[in-house]
Symmetry: C2
Amino acid sequence: MAEDSAVIGRSGSYSTGVARRREILDRAIEVFAERGSDGASLRQIAKAIGVSHTALLHYFDSREQLLVAVYEHAEWTRGETHPWPAEATAVDRLVRAATENVKVPGLVQLYSTLVATALAEESGASKEFFTRRFEVTRENIAAWLRRDQALGLVREDVDADMIAAMLVAASDGLQTQWLLDSSVSLIETLRAFDALLSPCPGAAADRPEPADAPDRD
Amino acid sequence: MAEDSAVIGRSGSYSTGVARRREILDRAIEVFAERGSDGASLRQIAKAIGVSHTALLHYFDSREQLLVAVYEHAEWTRGETHPWPAEATAVDRLVRAATENVKVPGLVQLYSTLVATALAEESGASKEFFTRRFEVTRENIAAWLRRDQALGLVREDVDADMIAAMLVAASDGLQTQWLLDSSVSLIETLRAFDALLSPCPGAAADRPEPADAPDRD
DNA sequence: GTCTATACGTCGATAGAC
DNA sequence: GTCTATCGACGTATAGAC
């Protein structure tokens, strides 16, 4: 992920390892995007790439670690492209992420499968990855929420950390419901948080400044 | 589920089928509650019950249908016991359901696994069961929300059906996060919906009655 | 109807040859 | 680095005992 940028510029000889690893991940992402996580056995992924399934285990310790790496790589590849406008709110970011996710149902399926695996195991690659990932995601959203609060866009009588967990949960859960029944209005429902989180018009309101100076802690 | 009550009271001879089926489900629920969904292979469940694994397939068409039946039966068994106080709000009910769920992590794991399976398959028992289940759950919560709105407990500027989907999603997602990291305050975060959904103090407010007359449709 | 025994194909994983 | 061979466990199907 970050490590290879320090390696691939070298002589080109032993960089083939990480380059090949990346090729495998890129191709595996396509497999998931096209066929979903149904044909996701190690042997079927290997066949789609054109190698034996044991070859994959030379780059990844297990099937589970391969799948986690695929999801991580897909997320990273996608996140690289377009920057965020500075004025985007926390809900704005959730909405865009969800919009992009539903375009690739196979990856949402993969996400759901891996989270279920993480819940079921005593310990393992999935568990550690997703525990950490939820933690980071919650922290990011909480920071945006605090900025939104400082800007007067979000009511201040709620705890940003709790709302962050709630937003992540709602986003995940709504994507699940949407995949099962597309009549569930994913984006609209996420947008409903705008109304729930906006400061009440006649509220007490001893807000410090009208805008502009976010007092981050 | 409802069908057997019309059968088991009969002569007692051919009712042994559904009785045995029920025994299997009861024992399987214990297995999941004790060991989670890790040792959830057909063969391991059969061993815990004390029969060969093929015996299970005489009562259930496949492993997947057995697992769905286990979850359904566990949910039904639990729901039988205690009635709801009439004054409980939609959020109250979510909170109690979540409180009971986290007492049996194995069943939450099973739920998560089955939902992931439902998302991954083109069609199948899990997909149909959970699509329908989400639909029913959303409708129930939406009805409670509309009652809460009529009672003046929930703001009326939001759509009950959308909020229902949001509440189900948040509840599912928060249970997932809680299982991975118990520092996430599941109940408190669900309770935060009370503040988000309560009518704003100084809002426009052309509410019909102060309380007391829920106009159910 | 209830259940065991057996077999088939596939799975993730390992060991060792080239 | 990639292969073949092999392992035990899996879900499923079938035949037949009681």
